[in-house]
Assembly symmetry: C2
Homo-oligomer: 305 residues x 2
């Protein structure tokens, strides 16, 4: 690390920014989710359990950091950012189900279905997805035109075609089967990439970015999204379960297609670094104050969990 002092500094700065934004996002999520005083209490407990299980809040932070570049107001960014976290959390709850990845551990805690049973976990996922759209309709302070545009962006990113659900379908279908690099990229562009790309785009849209800036930031989001997945595969290989908060080495054990399986540790590390550089270059094309976005890209590939 000593030969990259500037990188190290940026990493500590970005961590401080993350901490602050995580607190803010959590405060909003606290307000936006139904309380456990409301009937039926159990479903709201399950929704909150998984939402407040210590996520990195990467998607909300990307929306906020992108919006702030263009001076977008917090009141408009936060509900949209939180709706993305609700969708991300729903996707994790459903992915962890016995019929899917069958994971018992997530972020160091029992998964939703282990804690609340399968029926309630399915419904908690459904409820978080629904609450995301409810939040977009009711709590964003955008004008109606922008609300609809943002909502459309998010719905497309969460749907089946080159999007969240479609990525999970492909991931399941290719489990244990031989896979090519382009196919692996297609899966991850959909499964993790679409929502990360969308998080950046809606931030830019709320900020009123020009078409050129939106295109540059979309590329930033796409590269950052892929970098995130490559880094995830690297972490799965090299980190311990304790560091990850989930079962390490599980992908290899279940014959999941990963970047490390396909390109080796060194190849995947190179790929992550290259994608990070490309993301930063794309952000810089806007000519705006994108240091924070660049630092986030670096955080994505250098994180330890």
């Amino acid at each position: 690390m000593t030969q990259f002092p500037s990188k190290t500094k940026a990493l500590s700065e970005i961590k401080e920014y993350f901490q602050q934004k995580i607190r803010q996002v959590d405060q909003w999520l606290e307000q936006l989710l139904p309380t456990t005083e409301q009937t039926p209490a159990t479903i709201h407990e399950a929704m909150r359990y998984s939402t407040f299980a210590g996520g990195k809040r990467l998607r909300p932070i990307l929306t906020i950091a992108t919006g702030e570049i263009f001076g977008a107001p917090e009141q408009e960014l936060l509900p949209v950012a939180c709706s993305l976290e609700m969708i991300h959390t729903y996707s994790l709850i459903h992915d962890d189900l016995p019929a899917m990845d069958n994971d018992d551990l997530r972020r160091g805690m029992p998964t939703c279905h282990i804690k609340f049973g399968e029926a309630l976990a399915i419904l908690a996922g459904d409820a978080l997805l629904t609450q995301a759209f409810l939040t977009l309709a009711d709590y964003s302070t955008a004008n109606a035109e922008r609300k609809v545009r943002v909502l459309s962006e998010i719905a497309h990113a969460a749907a089946t075609t080159k999007a969240l659900i479609g990525g999970q379908v492909l991931d399941i279908q290719f489990e244990g089967k031989p896979i090519t690099g382009p196919m692996l990229e297609e899966i991850h562009r959909a499964k993790t990439g679409a929502l990360i790309r969308c998080a950046v785009r809606v931030g830019a849209i709320i900020g009123g970015a020009s078409d050129d800036d939106l295109a540059a930031l979309t590329e930033y989001g796409e590269k950052a999204g892929l970098a995130f997945q490559v880094a995830d595969d690297l972490l799965d290989e090299i980190a311990t379960s304790e560091e990850l908060g989930k079962t390490a080495g599980k992908d290899a054990a279940s014959h999941k297609a990963t970047y490390t399986a396909l390109y080796g540790l060194a190849g995947a590390r190179q790929m992550a670094d290259r994608l990070c550089e490309e993301a930063m270059a794309a952000a810089q094309r806007t000519g705006k104050e994108t240091q924070l976005l660049e630092a986030i890209a670096r955080f994505i590939v250098e994180r330890r969990s």
Copy 2:
């Protein structure tokens, strides 16, 4: 039947209207759902399998029939009506899952998870819910303000508090337990009532109904929704599995709380008829041409499947 010639006539008329509207709704759903040419094909097959499994299309028809009273344009009503059918279908797919009601048969066909496996059934439900909001954002021809209002109404009806998901949670929690009449009503107001009420309300909102008319039609929707559930319980007791297209007598066998268990066959029949009358009276309060809505209320309690 011979002593109610007017009722019989209305029933045949309403069936013809239903047939026509079902065709129209199906044509729109055909366009609004992703095709099986799009990747990943299997998820789109599963979404379409359950959507085109021969549903009554009650919710879309209620939206269309209510909107038409106020002269709302078809182009605006149909996508909204279809989004309600997508949400209804998603809820059936998830309710049928092994972790929930564990049903093998729906509308006379194998349920989604029997046909496509559990993982794909969960994802097909997720995808239909997402596609519903995507449809509301992209395909409704309403102005943006009305789009957001309709979307908010639908999100609330599909959520957890006095709404679709909450009703399913309560239904599961009370299975096999002693239940009171008011509690049973709370479950069904949420589980089936909220979406039926919403279907009527969004039709009225798209039609630009006055506050008084909206209130009257909301009451119509609430009564019709409860009548639907009472009639469902009656059918579960008296119809054959072949007529129902699902396993008859299953509710009693699984110790589900039903209106027939609580009030007996005659009591439940009286209740359905009373709710139907109250629904018709509420619709008439608008002073508009509500014969069709009244006939639908009657169809709801007189249907044989």
